[in-house]
């Protein structure tokens, strides 16, 4: 009987313990940040939000917004009433009214019409050209002082991670537009090589452009796919020559040539496409073409056709950006599950390390109408984004404002024009991921990075070969590692990020096709003298004036 009683006591104790544990686990975690306003709607209750001072009474802000065909809304939501408009109103005290909503492709045209008719929104997005145009017309509010007074530490960090973001929005020393930042280095080219072919032919990793040429030769001549047919190409190139996929700028970079961009040579900026370094690269490409290492018809093949060549397993190398494994390189597994690609830094033709060229990622700015009473409201909206969306690791918060895994096609941040991305987020995220992989502990990662960790884990621990895409981009020694090096000292940023100069706007539409035509023809066998002639013509047909104008711009924007 005593034993029975004791057993009952133990059971009760265990039951109490379990109930206590259950209650503890259900309790809300302590919020490390400022709690939202008491008036906040249930939408935001319990979220660890960092909210700037709320306007009381709320202010009105008219705006305009571009959407794309993929935008979707849940339930009763629409562009005028959604999680973002409610957050601005309830948490910041800013009631945003969209004057119009238009498809992204029609935005510039609609904005032009709207402004011409005098119907100027309080806050809106503009292109770099529009920024200068509207500034000259006196339509924009000076944001210099409100930025200095209101920008949060995170906002300042995001806007200064690359050196030109804020400069791009600055005219004559004053800030007129807040740049919608993104990762500039993401446009840098890497060398992608079919690793399974390299292994099959026992080839070492390339360290020089001579190695690249040798790999190209062996991929073409030694039947790396083992099908007994001479049907493989050393290097894939599209007819457009420059771009994110199967481009040639990466190849030229190996020869210290930087086509299409402006870079410093001595004390002035020069245009890369007309520099003497182009010649050696062109001659090397000409030889590759003559030996069948490039597609005989590359001059007419677009990205889709090159993707098909990759899917057929005929392509061994390409120069492209970091995300190429997601597309089109993933296609190479369509016929061969063992196909996978590895990224390499651009090798150099000599002992001097090669630099990958890339462009500034400033494609748009947020501006405020001159005369609007609360220009600081834009900075507060930006703070709300950077402090919460970019800085927070809270999954509930991110699900609330960005979208939920249960409805992956509903992308919530498309409902607001105030969207900035951290320029260095990809590189920092990759670094954290690799640290977690080394420790085999993903607990410190946010949800998205944890997922990447799991996919890489599936590759290494479950043999899921299709997961190579994540390994090649974010895994150990993956593409984001190389991007980190490019950002440090192996990159060549396009130093001209202003709006086209007068002569540039007039002459470049003629000069650029001419440049591409000459390069294509020389590769396909025309004498190199054709390129020399092009350089001469380029300067004669307006290049000289363009160089002067660009250098004048550089002096003004130092």
């Amino acid at each position: 009987m005593r034993a029975f009683t004791g057993k009952v006591c133990v059971n009760r104790f265990v039951a109490l313990l379990l109930v206590a544990m259950l209650l503890i686990s259900c309790a809300k975690p302590a919020s490390p940040t400022t709690p939202p306003s008491a008036e906040a709607d249930d939408d935001f209750a319990g979220l660890p939000l960092m909210v700037p001072d709320r306007y009381d009474p709320p202010i009105e802000m008219s705006s305009v917004v571009a959407v794309d065909a993929t935008i979707k809304f849940l339930g009763e939501n629409d562009i005028h009433n959604n999680v973002w408009t409610r957050a601005y109103e309830q948490l910041l005290g800013i009631k945003v009214n969209y004057k119009w909503v238009v498809d992204g492709s029609m935005y510039d045209q609609k904005l032009g019409l709207s402004i011409n008719s005098g119907d100027i929104p309080d806050m809106f997005r503009v292109s770099p050209a529009q920024l200068h145009l509207f500034h000259e017309a006196g339509l924009l509010a000076d944001l210099t002082d409100v930025y200095a007074a209101e920008a949060s530490a995170k906002t300042r960090d995001v806007l200064t991670q690359d050196t030109i973001s804020l400069k791009a929005g600055t005219i004559d020393g004053r800030l007129w537009g807040i740049p919608l930042t993104d990762a500039a280095v993401a446009s840098a080219s890497l060398l992608w090589i079919r690793q399974d072919w390299v292994d099959r032919l026992s080839i070492d990793a390339p360290v020089s452009m001579a190695d690249v040429l040798e790999i190209s030769r062996r991929f073409t001549e030694e039947d790396p796919d083992g099908n007994g047919v001479n049907d493989t190409l050393g290097l894939c190139v599209t007819k457009s020559l420059w771009g994110a996929i199967a481009n040639l700028q990466g190849f030229f970079n190996g020869y210290h040539a930087y086509p299409g961009i402006w870079y410093e040579q001595g004390s002035s900026l020069v245009y890369g496409s007309v520099q003497p370094e182009m010649r050696a690269a062109l001659l090397a490409l000409q030889e590759m073409y003559a030996k069948g290492q490039l597609d005989r018809e590359f001059g007419v093949k677009d990205i889709n056709q090159v993707t098909e060549t990759i899917a057929q397993g005929k392509c061994g190398m390409e120069f492209g950006v970091w995300w190429n494994p997601y597309h089109p390189l993933n296609q190479s597994q369509a016929n061969d599950p063992h196909a996978f690609w590895s990224a390499f830094p651009i090798p150099s033709v000599d002992g001097v390390p090669a630099k990958s060229q890339y462009n500034a990622a400033i494609g748009a700015f947020l501006v405020v109408r001159n005369g609007y009473k609360h220009p600081e409201a834009l900075i507060r909206m930006i703070n709300f984004w950077t402090d919460n969306i970019l800085q927070s690791q809270d999954d509930n918060l991110r699900n609330t404002f960005l979208g939920d895994i249960e409805a992956p096609d509903v992308v919530l941040y498309k409902y607001t024009p105030v969207v900035l991305w951290e320029p260095n987020a990809m590189i920092d995220g990759g670094k954290k991921l690799r640290e977690a992989l080394a420790k085999k502990d993903p607990s410190s990662l946010d949800l998205e990075t944890q997922w990447r960790y799991r996919i890489i884990q599936a590759y290494f621990e479950q043999g899921i070969l299709e997961a190579w895409v994540e390994v090649a981009t974010n895994g150990p020694n993956g593409a984001t590692t190389i991007l980190g090096h490019i950002l440090e000292d192996r990159g060549q940023l396009n130093r001209f990020y202003g709006v086209p100069t007068a002569t540039m706007a007039e002459k470049m539409p003629t000069l650029q096709p001419m440049e591409e035509e000459v390069i294509t023809k020389v590769i396909m066998g025309e004498p190199i003298a054709m390129f020399d002639q092009f350089v001469e013509n380029w300067y004669r047909l307006g290049g000289t004036e363009i160089v002067q104008e660009v250098n004048l711009w550089a002096e003004r924007n130092q």
Binding site: D199, S342, A438, I455, Q457, A458, P476
Partner: protein, 240 residues
Amino acid sequence: MYKKSKQPLMRKSHLPLILLGAAMAGYGLLTALVGSWLSTRAMRGLISAGAYRNQLAAFEQTAGLIAGIFFFVFFVWCAIRASGLVRVAFAIGAVASAAPLLVGRAERLLFAVIGLPTMGAGSVLAGAVVTLVFALPMTILFILLACGRRVPRGGRWLSLASIFVVLGTAFFPIYVTVLAFLLKPGDPAVGRMIQVSSQLIKLRYLLPGLSLLGLAFISMRFDRFPSEVAETAIEKGEVK
């Protein structure tokens, strides 16, 4: 009602069953250890993904070939030493010997030789085929042993448990892979399942091997103390 009398799984000696269980468990343990060692090195960036794949493929092909041959020999030996339903069970189990042989070779066989479409999931399909080649015969083997009235009582229970072990270790990773890559990419819950799955997959050969060793132990015990086991059965009313 007529009850068949229990008898040991093997006549004369249980050596073939012990060797079969030991070979399977040993192969499972070895592949798990080598796989973990290589994956750790690769995840730390000490070797490239290409080197990881080459080294793993070389190991899997060699170890798989040796293991497959040993499995087959021991299965056949077990079948010879057994009788009745147990013999049928081990004869069917012998088909599972093909699985280690196929590891590292299945993709080439399915997509290059037979010419099946990869549907963008070649390694998943190939992995599923290898799993089926191992799991189906092993499941049938354990079902037959669980149903065998001449099989000692403990052996039947262990066989019943082994059915779930084989099915779980075989199909849970496939289920998780389908969820992760096709149905719910990005789902944190599936992410945690990948974690479990990557550990479970290491037990794919180890646990069935240990089950076979357990069966051998139960059968040997029955062989050595048949009366004791019989009495226990009578006490429990199993034998009239």
